[in-house]
Symmetry: C2
Subunit: 224 residues, 2 copies
């Protein structure tokens, strides 16, 4: 089992987070490391989706994971145990989001020199993480069926800034009153360019599409 | 259908939120109005639970509802339509929580002179709302089955400060890997005095217990 290190993050010293985020993105471009900022509500399935996805792509690309949490280590341990890839736990010390300075601290700790892609699992929260640019190359969010199809109306910003919206737990669709067509329409109102992929991290349905999406993104990123 | 007013809240002017919250609590005590701060993740079922609960108690006590949201009005309209009680919508303008100053602005707008209990539905978020005392008489949170039984480990503060933890969507228990016993144990680790009531807002299971809980709390509050 891969070793799991825990890093305690402190509020970033950078006054201008946007500038710091742009500088981090440029640094990662130079290094050829693709960083994905993954956001969702608590319990939407970020960790389970990552595990299923990583096991699909880890033979093709070198993957690392940074798990942010208020103060528990359960996710990084779970990722390490179930995928074997390099992962670290970031503790935000009560903070509700990650910013670019905190992301850079995490990346320095995990050592990106032997990685192609790093997934950054943000704090489970639809409000604050959307407000801070982490410096990632791509923003992704997971909405899960039990949360309801009206969430793009209520948490507009996170849908607006996500390049990919994964709709998880579609295996539970028949137990919840969730209208996929209506939800897609609400997402497109916020962000007409968003890619939307419905999946079940539990049954594996749709995960191939997500895997292809990321493999293509990494390919374009490296060729740019 | 009851009229729905929308109030745009501004960042509170009070430097000391705890002092402002204590002062608001004292004011509400004098007025005999019991205010409940309701917290949860997005989509855990705050609005549906409130609708089912209010329809059980509205003939016994005079109920008002303040719905906080980033910028949508769907919840207040839904409450007004499905319960007929007085409700207003509070817009936080992007902010992830309510503080005591914002709560007081909301209470001034709804007019509490003819109310026994006011439910304040906080922004859907397990991190920030837990950090700010709203001045409410009671803190309540809803955890829903699809979110998973490990949430007290990952979002400790909201469990620590909640007098009542409602576990919702128990009708979906068999479709999710949720261990109620383990979850209860995790909650008690954070807060040994918490009352825990499992319910299904959809089927109505357990709602009578929640109704009795609130009716008793209002009775003690008025007699104190």
């Amino acid at each position: 089992m891969a070793e799991v290190k825990t890093i305690l993050l402190h509020r970033s010293v950078y006054a201008d987070n946007d500038a710091e985020a742009d500088s981090l993105r440029k640094y990662l471009k130079d290094k050829g490391v693709f960083v994905v900022n993954l956001m969702s509500s608590p319990g939407a399935g970020k960790t389970t989706t990552l595990i299923t996805l990583i096991n699909k792509i880890k033979d093709k690309v070198r993957v690392g994971v940074m798990e942010a949490d208020i103060d528990s280590d359960v996710d990084a341990i779970s990722i390490a145990k179930k995928t074997g890839v390099k992962s670290i736990q970031l503790h935000t010390g009560g903070m509700c989001h990650l910013d670019a300075g905190m992301t850079r601290t995490g990346l320095d700790s995990i050592d990106i020199s032997d990685l192609d892609i790093v997934f950054l699992e943000n704090v489970g929260n639809l409000v604050c993480p959307a407000e801070f640019d982490t410096g990632a190359s791509l923003d992704v969010m997971i909405l899960s069926i039990p949360e309801g199809d009206d969430k793009p109306l209520k948490y507009p910003l996170v849908f607006e800034k996500s390049d990919l919206v994964i709709i998880n737990k579609i295996d539970a669709m028949k137990y919840f009153n969730f209208n996929l067509e209506k939800c897609t329409e609400y997402i497109k109102m916020r962000n007409k360019d968003a890619t939307i992929i419905p999946i079940s991290a539990k049954t594996g349905e749709g995960i191939d599409l997500v895997a292809d999406y990321f493999l293509n993104k990494i390919k374009s990123f490296k060729e740019m």
